[in-house]
Symmetry: C2
Subunit: 282 residues, 2 copies
Amino acid sequence: MQVISSIAELRARLNEERAIAFVPTMGNLHEGHLDLMRLARENSSREHGSCVVASIFVNPLQFGPNEDFDQYPRTLAADCAKLQGLVDVVFAPSASEMYPVQQTVFVEPPPVASELCGAARPGHFRGMATVVLKLLNIVQPQLALFGKKDYQQLHIIRTLAAQLNLPVSIVGGETVRAHDGLALSSRNQYLTEVERSEAVFLYQTLQAMRRSVLQGARDFELLQQQALKALSDRGWLVDYVAVRDQSDLQPASGGQRDLVILAAARLGKTRLLDNVEVCIGE
Amino acid sequence: MQVISSIAELRARLNEERAIAFVPTMGNLHEGHLDLMRLARENSSREHGSCVVASIFVNPLQFGPNEDFDQYPRTLAADCAKLQGLVDVVFAPSASEMYPVQQTVFVEPPPVASELCGAARPGHFRGMATVVLKLLNIVQPQLALFGKKDYQQLHIIRTLAAQLNLPVSIVGGETVRAHDGLALSSRNQYLTEVERSEAVFLYQTLQAMRRSVLQGARDFELLQQQALKALSDRGWLVDYVAVRDQSDLQPASGGQRDLVILAAARLGKTRLLDNVEVCIGE
């Protein structure tokens, strides 16, 4: 496994590769990330001489001025140890390698980027989409993998890849959860012990909504209000709980069959995300 | 020479090519375009098995609601006849091939895109940059060529390619002129006979400014005002006359050595562009 920090060196290394699978991350890797690396290998192993590349880059462009950019955990050595045997190349550029001049060209993401997480984090998806496009142009993979835990992010990347005609297939990996059901996230480590045991209630709430929908509930507005109240009553600061159509992330009206229930809420200082898919008639 | 209108078919055709040079156009080809095709061949002929691709697509996204999108001349058969022997592949997609769904993802161009031509044509460079990125992603060339006649466009494409890490080299081709000096443009055919003989005055004005600068004039504001008045006095409706730094298209302050003088002005219903480079100390 090679660890490369220069774009020119990475391009030289990948120049002769014919089949590249790419997993962009912000590092501080957990089993959710490692699962994506395994999925990358599986999906590309049919190709002769396939190469799996992971990137580790905490992208300043996608953090707001009052967010946790400085605090975000950087653990490159430990990350590389975990990636050993799973990937062929780790790309870990500095901020000045990625942004040698002030960035003035951006990806303008679709309107859904200002809803859900985008409402609480203005500019987040613009910054994310811009760095993902840069990374895809640098690595030039045939396959790029992203976790379903960041469902809206995955949706925006799929939309961007389709509408900009990127020569890459986007693959979503299932959310990996702790034993109690909490979705793995680098931000979980911000939680105090008490918060950590409460944290799973977000997933439990989504699961309860999912059961209601499968049992026939179609008043999604009411379900959302109930969930919001249940979370607030336990001290959560809820950004949103939303039942949406999987295909376009627009509010579900009852006619669609493939739904996703998404939530973002803060427990103390930590903002947690989760979502569950619901296929009616499954 | 193959003429291809489907993205899938084009990708299949170009799949095994190792060195592609690409010239995107809106068709209605004149010697300026054909010169770019020859430059593409020259620049890529060092590569074994190089392939020159031209695209012909009148991009609705870069026309404003009151502009000449409907009127813009479409002459595909004549264009293909001119390209015979110069290029290997012509890509001529329909609007629905390029935009199968309503485009909601865009390239947000750098701030200079709202100045000069961008001031008169809001959204123009956003639409241009978006389709250029789509075309580059479809064709995946090593080299892409654009005329210097659209100097600001070329500058924005260079900026976009650099900041989005596109794996392509951007090459600018010199402006090709009619015998009297008028820059070739598909829009010249909108001119009446009387307007056509007046049209060269735009270039003459820029050349006069260039001589003044080379003779030591440094009050660029005054030069601009004089040129604007000279044009207006002859019935031109001037969008701008501007002395700018070649490297960033910011207003020249006197210290820079590599300048460009740009102008856009309307003669009757026809909007004409031109520019001349000035290297002080040459």
